[in-house]
């Protein structure tokens, strides 16, 4: 009986205590449009990935079977692609593409709308002369979007993993590899790390440049540089596995790192012969071939190292942002 009488009183209290307050309310209220956009984008990506996981994959299997690709031996009809194949290919690319592009959207928004526009129009000073210190203001600007971004991209990453075909044959037919750039970014925690890096870089550049449009451009350039640099470095973030053989037919099934020829002294040289006959090899004193690659078991170590690097960069940018604000305002921050 007591429970029945207290229950109605507790509900509004609970709702009131869960209601966003202070800076969190301010952030959600000021950036409603961005919040809505993020929700829509995440919904589109999630819907696409779910479709690809369910009907998309099922349709492709049906097509695979009706085109009789599953039978061994030469089958020319499998060189062509059907509607289901095209649809799944598109859905996979769209889902992965959205995950890949989110950090750039975040950086552009954070540098322009979140930070530089406030400094430009003086609304930052309006906030700092309420009962809120600039340090707390910056903390809210980082924490609220970071929480929404991390949860959203983590969800999309899990859906991407769910959708990603576990069947090797299907992967081969779709000509997708686990180490493809978009697939690698969508299939693990690097997705979340890059989104957070976009936020941190955007905030730092916004504080440095203090004008919306230049800040937007510069933050995109910075993020693109990190994006490509780490993409290039990725094969070297974990020790690769080496395979040596005497014939020069290369193997597949892993992320290629390096390949070439081996001399009698064991030195690694570029393969001088290409597709030429054995005479060429003798002439150049080639005794074998090597192939450095990452087997698919290296997926997680590579993911974790790259995630660690990206998160460290984000932490550095956050630290620099607070120091910058402090230097500008002194003890008032």
């Amino acid at each position: 009986m007591t429970a029945m009488t207290t229950a109605p009183a507790e509900a509004p209290t609970l709702r009131r205590s869960l209601r966003p307050r202070g800076l969190v309310w301010t952030m959600l209220c000021l950036h409603r449009a961005a919040l809505l956009f993020w929700a829509l984008l995440a919904a589109v990506a999630a819907g696409t990935l779910l479709w690809a996981w369910g009907p998309g994959t099922k349709g492709v299997w049906t097509e695979y079977r009706t085109m009789r690709c599953a039978f061994p031996g030469e089958n020319l009809s499998c060189d062509y692609t059907g509607d289901a194949y095209m649809a799944l290919d598109l859905a996979t690319s769209l889902g992965g593409g959205i995950i890949t592009i989110v950090p750039f959207l975040v950086a552009a928004w954070a540098s322009g709308a979140l930070i530089a526009r406030e400094l430009e129009t003086g609304t930052a000073e309006l906030a700092w002369t309420q009962s809120v210190s600039p340090t707390r203001w910056l903390a809210a600007k980082l924490a609220v979007p970071a929480a929404l971004l991390a949860s959203g991209t983590a969800l999309l990453m899990l859906l991407h993993r769910l959708m990603w075909p576990s069947d090797r044959e299907l992967l081969r037919w779709l000509s997708r590899q686990w180490y493809d750039d978009v697939a690698f970014r969508g299939n693990g925690p690097v997705a979340v790390a890059y989104a957070l890096l976009g936020l941190a870089v955007g905030v730092l550049v916004g504080l440095l440049v203090r004008r919306s449009l230049p800040a937007l451009g510069i933050s995109l350039v910075c993020l693109l540089a990190v994006h490509f640099a780490l993409g290039m470095l990725r094969p070297y973030l974990w020790p690769s596995v080496t395979l040596t053989k005497t014939d020069q037919y290369s193997i597949s099934g892993g992320m290629p790192v390096d390949d070439g020829a081996i001399t009698p002294l064991g030195n690694r040289v570029p393969n001088p012969c290409g597709g030429e006959g054995p005479d060429c090899l003798t002439q150049h004193h080639i005794v074998g071939f090597y192939f450095d690659y990452h087997p698919s078991s290296h997926f997680w170590p590579l993911q974790l190292v790259e995630t660690g690097i990206v998160l460290s960069l984000a932490a550095l940018a956050v630290l620099a942002s607070f120091r910058l604000l402090n230097r500008h305002l002194g003890d008032a921050a």
Binding site: R21, G22, L23, W25, T26, C29, L30, R32, A33, T121, G122, T123, E125, L126, A127, W128, T129, Q130, S131, V132, S133, H328, L329, G330, D331, A332, A333
Partner: protein
């Protein structure tokens, strides 16, 4: 009896390492409860001084205390309205006031803020971006008063308003300040509107304090004299002009004046203009405490 609302000691601010000094050697004290006008030409350092008081700039040298402590410590107790009245354009008036209540927990006076908005016949659901200059100023003032500040810092609050809106808002501002005993510090270059409203004056020229003190004491310390060209020693001459053989001068008398001079007490405008026209005039800082002026007949700048 009253405390100190704002006190500067040798405050200086330079922009850039080798830049110009925007403020230098600013020393003054403002008692709580006063309404102080900061006047001076454009670029004199008025906005810089107010931004320091609001904790938005760090002094290059010297100190500025607000309500007995640093601006950062006093953040909850003062309100600041910048010159261009920054407000979030995407919010409605009601949301802007809600922002004030969310960012000033425990201090926010919703009734005061809503009354200022309502007095201007503003619909709370109007977006800020659609407001006119005067309406914007009104919302900015509502946000400032809603905080129940002990000290209100206003940078050129009426600059972009038409005379009617200016008169109306000045009235609202003074009524609110009087009702709550708020100390008001406002910069302006429209001297006429300050004469009735203010009881303290801080004249800044070229980054330096030129005149500071209670308005009536400052006015009483100066005499406007006219007469035949003759010696004005030992009085301090702020500005003198000769028309034919007729000499008009604003002086700070030091002892009794000769009978041959016609004397009048200057108006605020005459006082300010004379000091702005002669940057070499000695600095005068009066304080309200000692009934007898002057505390310092400062040296030439």
């Amino acid at each position: 009896m009253t405390g100190t609302a704002m006190e500067a000691a040798a405050l200086g601010r330079r922009f850039g390492r080798n830049g110009e000094w925007a403020l230098r050697d600013c020393t003054f004290r403002l008692p709580a409860g006063s309404v102080c006008a900061i006047v001076g030409p454009n670029g004199a350092g008025k906005s810089t001084l107010l931004a320091h008081a609001a904790g938005l700039l760090r002094p290059t040298e010297g100190t500025l205390t607000v309500l007995g402590t640093t601006p950062a410590e006093a953040r909850e107790r003062f309100a600041y309205v910048a010159q261009d009245k920054p407000l979030y354009p995407q919010l409605s008036i009601a949301e802007t006031l809600r922002l004030g209540s969310e960012l000033n927990p425990g201090r926010w006076d919703r009734a005061v803020a809503e009354r200022i908005v309502a007095d201007g016949d503003l619909d709370p659901h109007t977006r800020v971006r659609t407001l006119s200059g005067g309406q914007r100023t009104r919302v900015a003032l509502a946000l400032a008063f809603g905080k129940r500040p002990e000290l209100l810092l206003l940078d050129e609050p009426m600059a972009d308003l038409d005379p009617l809106a200016r008169h109306q808002l000045m009235g609202a501002l003074m009524a609110e300040a009087a009702e709550h005993g708020t100390t008001v510090v406002m910069s302006s270059h429209v001297i006429a509107e300050l004469e009735d409203a203010c009881d303290h004056l801080l004249l800044i020229g070229d980054g330096h304090v030129r005149l500071a003190g209670p308005l009536d004491a400052l006015l009483a310390a100066h005499v406007l004299v006219t007469g035949q060209d003759g010696g004005l020693d030992p009085h301090t001459v702020v500005e003198s002009r000769t028309t034919g053989r007729q000499l008009t001068a604003l002086i700070r008398p030091d002892g009794p004046l000769d009978d041959e001079w016609q004397t009048t007490e200057p108006t605020l405008e005459e006082l300010v203009l004379a000091h702005l026209r002669s940057p070499g005039a000695p600095v005068l800082t009066l304080t309200g405490e000692d009934e007898d002026w002057p505390e310092t007949w400062g040296a030439a700048v």
